[in-house]
């Protein structure tokens, strides 16, 4: 039991933030969890969070891997997604009749472009040893202009029925399609980790590239691979985003999403300096961010002020999660426990040990 708890101690932070947000929302209105059926699909606050966070979740998975292996971040993910989705839209628009096959081919095509963009960043980082943030700055700067060119300087509209279904719901299925696609993507990720040594290799390279090399791991290949995966994540996220929006707006599509993705990685308990990582943490982190965004909206905070509130919230979050505060909490909890033990005469159960205490223990 205790070992199990220890393994999940890094999830304490995002989960407690989620709990806090839920409490705030419940105070605001007890109907927070209400789910209604509209046109045969679930709607409500919770489904909206899952729906809204789809792209962010997918991008956070890629960002986690890139961070862990390369000890840096890819800031061009929103731009990559804009380019890949532009390719997707162009292919769909040139078809006379949009069939499932059209969508599929268009998606594959955009994935190939995504992989190519990932390979571009990956080559700069792994072979030319450019800092990840600098390497991805190139696409970050030029990416949207490239997408704009592909679009033919327009913002084309995706008016077909299939795109509509992908972006919203498929009749007969009560869950919105982007949520299903995200779940599928998470499942694919799980399979990837189950069937390969990706975790061990990435962690080894991220912690000690020298030792990794001397044990037969090709650090360059692994870093390159994480960027390839990031490229595919971008393509997948772009696919969802453009079908959701129904048109390709190369200026605003997934704008500045890399900030939230990096934040999701951090909230998930991952070090932005690379090394050991938790994908689960990042996924929960991504949902937490979406929940925060929607909570601020629900509290009817003036739209112009939302970003300020978000910033304040994140500062508090990061301070609470810092090793300094965690060590302090551990210390306090230990004292309470030993006092309790002396008075009760027997050791307290695992349950009395606070979550923060466990989080601090990991720091040791």
């Amino acid at each position: 039991m205790r070992r199990l708890m220890k393994r999940f101690s890094h999830l304490v932070l995002p989960l407690s933030v989620m709990a806090l947000l839920i409490i705030i929302n419940l105070i605001k209105g007890a109907d927070y969890f209400r789910v209604t059926m509209v046109n045969g699909a679930f709607y409500g606050n919770i489904p909206n969070i899952f729906f809204g966070a789809s792209e962010l979740v997918i991008l956070s998975i890629g960002m986690t891997l890139v961070t862990a292996a390369s000890r840096g971040q890819d800031i061009s993910i929103g731009e990559s997604a804009t380019i890949t989705s532009a390719v997707f839209v162009q292919y769909v628009l040139q078809a006379n009749e949009v069939t499932l096959l059209t969508i599929l081919v268009a998606f594959l095509l955009s994935s190939v472009v995504g992989l190519a963009l990932g390979a571009f960043n990956g080559t700069l980082v792994s072979i030319f040893k450019v800092q990840p943030m600098v390497a991805s700055l190139i696409l970050f700067t030029g990416g949207r202009s490239i997408a704009f060119m592909i679009d033919g300087k327009l913002s084309p509209i995706l008016a077909n029925d299939l795109s509509n279904k992908i972006g919203t719901v498929i009749p007969g299925i009560p869950i919105q399609t982007p949520i299903i696609l995200t779940v599928v993507f998470i499942a694919l990720t799980a399979v990837l980790f189950r069937t390969t040594n990706l975790r061990l290799y990435v962690e080894a390279v991220g912690i000690n590239p020298n030792a990794a090399r001397l044990n037969g791991i090709n650090a360059k290949k692994i870093i390159f691979l994480t960027f390839l995966i990031m490229g595919f994540c971008s393509a997948f996220a772009g696919f969802i985003a453009v079908n959701k929006a129904g048109r390709h707006d190369s200026v605003n599509l997934l704008k500045l999403i890399m900030m939230d993705a990096i934040l999701a990685v951090a909230i998930g308990g991952n070090s932005l300096g690379g090394g050991t990582f938790s994908i689960t943490g990042s996924i929960i982190g991504a949902y937490t961010i979406e929940m925060l965004n929607r909570t601020l909206l629900r509290l009817e905070i003036e739209p112009a002020m939302i970003k300020v509130f978000k910033a304040v919230f994140i500062i508090i979050l990061m301070v609470v999660a810092s090793p300094v505060v965690r060590a302090f909490i551990t210390n306090v909890v230990d004292r309470i426990r030993s006092a309790f033990r002396h008075s009760a005469g027997s050791g307290p159960s695992d349950a009395s040990m606070s979550a923060a205490g466990r989080a601090g223990e990991r720091e040791e």
Binding site: R3, R194, T195, T196, N197, L198, L200, Y201, E203, A204, I207, N208, N210, A211, A212, R213, L214, N215, G216, I217, N218, G275, T276, E361, E364
Partner: protein, 497 residues
Amino acid sequence: MRGISKSFPGVKALDSVDFTLRKGEIHALMGENGAGKSTLIKVIAGVWEKDSGSITLEGKPIHFKAPQEAQNNGIGTVYQEIMLCPNLTVAENMYIGRSHSPLVNWKQMNEQAERLLASLNIPARATQELSSCSLAVQQMIAIARAVDMECKILILDEPTSSLDEDEVHTLFDLMRELKERGVAIIFITHFLEQVYEISDRITVLRNGKLVGEFETIALPQIGLISKMLGNELEDITGLKKYEPIISDTSIPVFEAIGLSSSAGVRPFDFTIQKGEVNGFAGLLGSGRSESARAIFTADRTTGGEVRMKGKRVKIKTPLHAIQHGIGYLPEDRKGDGIIDELSVRDNIILTLQVMEGFFKPFSLKQAEEFAQEYIERLNIKTPTADTPIKSLSGGNQQKVILARWLLTHPEYLILDEPTRGIDVGTKVEIQKLVIALAHEGMSVTFISSEIDEMLRTCSRLIVMKDRQIVGELRGQELTESAVMNVIAKGGKNRCAD
């Protein structure tokens, strides 16, 4: 210090230990790995807070919560692993974090550093980048930094483990001078001769408990060893020299012809037979490690050819070497060996897992079995296989790296300084293991800066100087003085073949 205790999750590192240090003495702190030496000095240096007990400094009770506080009270520490910034200059490293003003007077700082370096006979320039100095010089700069802080207590944790003999003597001169000035020095080392050469008193710890405090002259060496090891004494004296039966006509397991590498080692020939233990002897910087690295292609090879069991093979990367059955335990455990944040289990299975391939991960159960097997076999002291390797003591970390290679069942294993910075007990264990492995038919190259260790385990020594082979000794020729002679003559006349 009275009744000091300190616990970590799963381990009681110090159990009511008393320790007294007098002004102007050199006090050796002795004990096996995990005896609690490092923990004790870290409590003194304020790195860790004690759980219980009391510390008094010059009659006043003290309680340090941070290393900075200890430093301000005149306690300077130089750790086993050098903790300086390699990309800063020597002077910057000596004065970093010590100025109370936000402005830096570069000229004054450099001059001051230059003067200090000169007074301590340290061969380095103040404006030189630290990474361009040898490990030994870096170590001395770390000491200079501590000395310059006008310390009353100087803690030296394994300061000599990477120094050659001359440098050790320079360091000892420095220590004696500081002693004259009234500085109390705590000296941790695994070299017993050095303890007898320099220390006034000895405190021995075992398993976190105090064994006793002794006057150095009143405690004979054999007595000290028995105090450190408890009842493991017969192990070290009973260690028999290993003599393999090798016919020179058999095909060598590994053979290098004219091998050279990017690290600047001169082209050399090298062979090793099945079941043989040989070694590269030589001083620090003689090319002994570089040769080992060239064989494993840890450094890029720039020429020559390699044969395994008579067949020519192409080894271009460490992965090829591993696949051909070569294992390599690197000299720099922290930088090249351990993956510090990963668990003991992951560290053990790493190389075998890489050999299996990217698409064939071991199940957790399988990995745990491998880890448990070797934790038991090598007697690795760790709470669980899940514990991050960085929380283990140096000797146990080294055993984990050994386990990693043994798990791959190499035909040829290169051990570069496997016993550096670890206690006598583990040293003996590792030497015994090497001999046992050779009996099972494994070929081993054993490199150590302690010549008696190599004489005990190796049946053939390849002597190196200035990055080239200057001689080879075997059988009856294997004595310490013979090795010294070959090094001194330095390639003028080759002794073997």
